[in-house]
Amino acid sequence: MPPVIDTEKCIGCGLCAEICPMMVFRHKPEESDTPQVLYGDECWHCNACVLDCSQGAIRLRLPLPYMILNTDAANLKG
């Protein structure tokens, strides 16, 4: 589930659910203040929710298949 919301920090404003360009969240204030991450596997990792959350309550967890392959640079020149 890529976005992870810190329920301690979240104030339930619902902005992330409103603006997510995909449809990852569901926010039903009558059920819970914090939006639910309902369709995490449809996340595009665009970072919009992280940028727009005024409380810094969202973190994105990158799924395993997305891990970047890196090695030491073999031929660093100066």
Partner: protein, 560 residues
């Protein structure tokens, strides 16, 4: 009487803009400035919807104050664009964008778009003879667009997917939409309609099995193109696809922003140049996906991006650019995992195939269907790499044309379309009522498999014909068995059906293009026709009439 699952609402406006990406916002704002009542409908939310959700960091442009003194002209820009991207493009469209983008940039600067950095325009040289790529901090441009829409009181409706155009007497008079969260059917009646739903994503199988790990906005399923085809619109370049190259595993745009050397596993640079070219040259290596794939096949992979020779100053510049082009997460991940791009090599690869075709409007954005305009940007197929400048400038042009068109038109009476509307509502209700049936994942997966198997790298007659048959079978079955348990799934089902509409166009056009073409941007290979056919150096125009395919060839337009 069975229970109605949907509430229905009829909404009237002068100009309906379908899609609120860069092009749709540009079109809506212009139409409103021209005095029309405008309704902008987006299936997502305009604040962050579309390919530019969290940024576009470069916009190619002709900026008179910068380019005039260099003796560079819009006509030369068109020449270079053709030389680099191939001759089969409508030059009048490229010219119109080149002539309008400067003014557009000034105008958007007035809204607060930060095109200048540290008080000046940063230009880099890419596909044109002089530096035309304006690098800017475009991360929050959609937020600025949304603010401007509000300022002009442009009515905006978010979370509504438009899925069918309505016609009367051959003319587009509106559209049907469905709430992506609420069970509401919207019947839009308009004097003119601008389609600006962007490009086509998720058409081919995902290379690493994660369907939304896509370089392009995965919510863009070519809806505007598919519904246009159903309404009789002509589309072009449906037989072509291209692949971007970039960071391996985590598919993101931004390849153009890297400053470093692409090299093979042994550290041999692919281009022969071992030192990073600096910001004026960006990546030193091979941008061509075909070549990258070939290196992998020849045993030279993994291919790496090496920023080791990039100066500190250039490296900081690169990170600034990446953070403005939707790559903030990448930089943050690298920090968290302790991956220092400056001193590590990171793997690059060729991405999924992606379609690049679309509408072929005239220079004013008008399509062949009266009342219907194509709003620049990704939705048009008659120029390549129109990208953000195309959206800003040609979106505006289409919006203006639609507003002018609206002046002389009456609003249609939706009662005349009631059978068609009922049929569509019934179709959607069936999907929601089926307790068992095919899921949207099955439908889009089946379509992607067909495209990947029959209509991708290897094409020849028997294969394409088999693909057509298989697609027809899958599509019929999907229409009768798709099941959705909520609005979210319903939207995904409609998207899958739209992808199938486009797949049909692609298979049909691929069958007709009996040649092989080695263009680096979008090569086309037929195993049974291995030579280039000069007669086919044209647009293959595809449309549908009463369910039958129509194809014809047309020469690209020159500057009028």
């Amino acid at each position: 009487m069975p229970r109605q699952l949907f509430a229905r609402k009829v909404i009237k406006t002068d100009v309906l803009v379908v899609g609120g990406g860069l092009a749709g916002c540009s079109a809506a704002i212009r139409a409103a400035e021209k005095g029309a009542s405008v309704l902008l409908v987006d299936k997502s939310h305009v604040r962050r919807s579309g390919n530019a959700a969290t940024g576009v960091d470069h916009t190619w442009c002709y900026l008179p104050e910068v380019h005039d003194p260099q003796g560079f002209t819009p006509e030369q820009l068109v020449e270079d664009h053709i030389a680099k991207m191939g001759p089969v493009q409508d030059q009048d469209i490229i010219h119109a964008i080149a002539c309008n983008i400067g003014e557009r940039i000034k105008e958007m600067e007035g809204w607060g778009m930060p095109f200048k950095t540290d008080g000046e325009y940063r230009f880099v040289k890419k596909i044109h003879r002089v530096p035309t790529f304006l690098h800017w901090a475009g991360r929050d441009q959609k937020v600025i667009f949304e603010r401007q829409l509000r300022k002009l009181n442009v009515e905006t409706m978010n979370r509504v997917m438009i899925f069918e155009l309505l016609k009367q007497d051959g003319r587009v008079v509106g559209a049907i939409g469905v709430g992506t969260r609420e069970p509401v059917i919207y019947i839009f009646i308009a004097r003119s309609v601008v389609v600006a739903t962007g490009g086509i994503s998720r058409m081919f199988p995902a290379k690493h099995c994660m369907d939304f790990n896509r370089q392009r906005y995965p919510y863009g399923s070519g809806d505007g193109i598919a519904m246009g085809i159903r309404a009789g619109a002509e589309v072009v370049r449906m037989e072509f696809f291209n692949r971007w190259t970039g960071l391996a595993h985590f598919f993101k745009s931004g390849r153009g922003t890297w400053i470093g050397v692409l090299e093979d596993a042994s550290g041999t640079p692919l281009s022969g140049e071992a030192v990073a070219g600096g910001r004026s040259k960006m990546t030193t290596g091979v941008e061509n996906h075909g070549k990258i794939n070939q290196f992998y096949r020849e045993g030279r992979g993994p291919i790496y991006m090496n920023c080791g020779t990039t100066s500190d100053e250039d490296f900081d510049y690169m990170c600034w650019a990446l953070s403005n082009e939707g790559n903030q997460l990448l930089l943050q991940q690298a920090r968290e995992l302790g991956i220092d791009f400056h001193h590590k090599r990171i793997e690059f690869e060729a991405y999924d195939a992606e379609m690049t075709g679309g509408y072929c409007p005239d220079v004013s954005g008008r399509t062949n269907v009266p009342g219907l305009f194509a709003g620049g940007g990704e939705v048009i197929g008659n120029m390549k790499r129109s990208v953000s400048p195309g959206s800003f400038a040609f979106g505006k042009i289409a919006g203006e044309s639609a507003a002018i068109e609206a002046l002389g038109q009456e609003l249609a009476d939706p009662a005349r379309n009631s059978d068609e509307i009922d049929r569509n509502v019934d179709r959607l209700e069936q999907m929601l009522k089926r307790s068992q049936g095919a899921s949207w994942q099955e439908a889009s997966g089946a379509c992607q498999n067909i495209m990947g198997h029959y209509c991708c790298e290897t094409k020849y007659e028997n294969l394409l014909v088999a693909g057509q048959e298989q697609l027809a079978r899958v599509r019929r079955r999907a229409e009768h068995t798709l099941a959705a348990s909520c609005q979210h799934e319903l939207v995904r089902c409609l998207e899958a059906l739209n992808l199938m509409e486009i797949a049909e166009a692609s298979l049909t056009a691929s069958l007709e293009r009996k040649e092989t073409r080695q263009d680096s941007y979008d090569p086309f290979r037929r195993v049974d026709y291995t030579e280039e056919n000069p007669e086919m150096r044209k647009f293959l125009v595809y449309s549908k009439e009463d369910g039958k395919h129509r194809l014809h060839w047309r020469s690209p337009r020159t500057i009028s």
